[in-house]
């Protein structure tokens, strides 16, 4: 397609803090948002990505390049994704899932969402509040009511809060 339409094969992406990144079109079109722009012929200049900061965009581009270099082998792609996400903290993961949503990259979104879910698994309510900095905005009555519902699921169940 690039040869036919004369579209450059390298795209320039701009983060919301004005950092510029060059990325091969073949890797960038993993993002459906970018792919649509390319197909519409409006990806010639700099593509501004207003919802993604430079640090997150750098990670996403690393992922794009890494995953697009792997031929159609789902096993290898999965192990690449696992390795890629293994050393990321929650803040980075959270920024990445929002960026992946904005860029419409379902494979990255699924992987990161599952990774975040893995952190939340088997944890107590208090642990989740502390870890993710969430304020308990229930009134005491509401909290009692919500605890009463499905109380059976918590009776005699250990949580995994130490990890």
């Amino acid at each position: 397609m690039a040869a036919e339409t004369g579209t450059p094969t390298t795209l320039t992406l701009k983060s919301n803090d004005d950092e510029l990144f060059s990325v091969a079109e073949s890797a960038a079109i993993l993002s459906v948002t970018i792919r649509n722009m390319v197909e519409d012929g409006c990806a010639g200049g700099v593509i501004p990505l207003d919802n993604v900061d430079g640090k997150t965009l750098a990670s996403v581009i690393t992922y794009m390049n890494g995953i697009s270099a792997i031929p159609a082998d789902e096993e290898k792609k999965k192990s690449y994704r696992d390795k890629f996400l293994s050393d990321k903290d929650f803040e980075t993961l959270a920024d990445m899932v929002l960026a992946a949503n904005y860029l419409n990259m379902s494979c990255l979104m699924d992987a990161v969402s599952a990774k975040i879910a893995q952190v939340m698994e088997k944890k107590s309510v208090g642990w989740v509040r502390r870890k993710f900095g969430i304020e308990n905005d229930y009134t005491p009555e509401e909290e009692a009511a919500v605890k009463e519902e499905h109380k059976w699921t918590f009776e005699g169940v250990e949580t995994d809060d130490d990890n």
């Binding site: 409006c42 969402s113 879910a117 919500v146």
Partner: protein, 334 residues
């Protein structure tokens, strides 16, 4: 008198020119009654393909509709009778009354394919079949628009602002669904109220342009406002990313997460997609009973697709049967 159409295809692959108006006739006939019950009935029935049958059905609707269900030919087990009242959630009872007069007019003007009095001229080649498919297959009709992105700029405007509101991935599709209900009818109504604006272009431009713009303007307020506000209100609110992770949590963790704060609670309880698959594992399998399982299944709001209750000694066949009654889409039970 009453007809059983259940063996006929819902949407015939080929509709001859003579029959182009059949679906519209049907609805128009029902609408003429002005009774929402009749509309629902007519809608749930597959469209007929021939004029003869249409006329008979029309006669049924207008003159003797009570007999439709009373007739022995309408078996109680007929699959038609088990279809949901309003399968596409179009809110037909309200929306269609506004269109009644227009549809009737179209029916009478069928011979010429024109609507002289309001200035719309429908080209013969795609005229009414396009109109029908836009109205009736509103969701599937929109899919190719998204897929091949034929509308370039407009679509990008819509999707762009959409994606600026960081929300669940499934929500995106859900909201296209619910949004489309509104847009299609808004677009059609625009055609009715501002006919001269669109002239010969008929249905499509009305839907494409205004529909997409409406999409970008309203969807963020209507469907996304609440969560975004919650996220911006306080630093101590859960990160938006956590809402994406919910669909990867099991039953036990979902029930735990809803205790954390209000916004997570409403996200967990309000999203039937999270409950479409219910797998009961240890340690819940020993504790869960029929009533508790039914309580969980209710959260799927009838959308439960997959239920796994292996090694659950307190769950009986009767309990499963009760869940099956309200979840007609359940396809896998183990």
């Amino acid at each position: 008198m009453a007809l059983n159409y259940s063996h006929r295809p819902s949407f015939p692959a080929h509709v001859s020119e003579d029959n182009l108006f059949s679906p519209m006739m049907n609805v128009s006939a029902c609408l003429a009654e002005g009774v929402s019950e009749t509309i629902d009935e007519g809608y749930a029935r597959p469209w007929s393909t021939s004029w003869g049958e249409m006329e008979e059905w029309y006669f049924n609707c207008t003159s003797d509709r009570v007999h439709n269900n009373g007739s022995p030919e309408f078996n109680i087990d007929d699959v038609v009778n088990r279809l949901p009242i309003d399968p596409f959630r179009m809110g037909m009872g309200n929306t269609f009354t506004a269109l009644t007069g227009w549809l009737e007019d179209l029916r009478f003007d069928y011979g010429g394919f024109t609507r002289g009095n309001i200035g719309i001229s429908v080209p013969e080649d795609y005229g009414f079949s396009a109109g029908c498919s836009l109205i009736w297959k509103h969701y599937s009709a929109f899919q190719p628009f998204c897929g091949n992105n034929r509308f370039g700029d407009n679509l990008n405007v819509g999707i762009g602002s959409f994606l600026r509101n960081p929300q669940c991935y499934e929500k995106f599709y859900m909201d296209i669904n619910s949004f489309m209900d509104g847009v299609q009818f808004r677009a059609e109504l625009n055609t009715v109220s501002n006919p001269n604006q669109h002239g010969r272009e008929g249905f499509r431009p009305a839907c494409n342009r205004e529909g997409i713009l409406d999409f970008s303007d309203t969807s963020s307020e209507l469907h996304f406002g609440e969560k975004v506000d919650v996220a911006n209100e306080s630093e101590a609110a859960p990160h938006e990313a956590m809402f994406f992770a919910l669909r990867y949590l099991g039953v036990k963790d979902l029930l735990s997460v809803e205790r954390v704060c209000r916004s997570l609670c409403s996200a967990v309880r309000g999203d039937p997609l999270l409950w479409m698959s219910i797998h009961i594992h240890e340690p819940l399998n020993e504790k869960i009973t029929d009533d508790l399982l039914l309580q969980l299944a209710r959260r799927a709001q009838g959308k439960l697709k997959c239920l796994s209750v292996m090694r659950c000694p307190k769950v009986t066949n009767d309990g499963i049967r009760r869940i099956l009654e309200t979840n007609t889409r359940l396809i896998k039970v183990s």
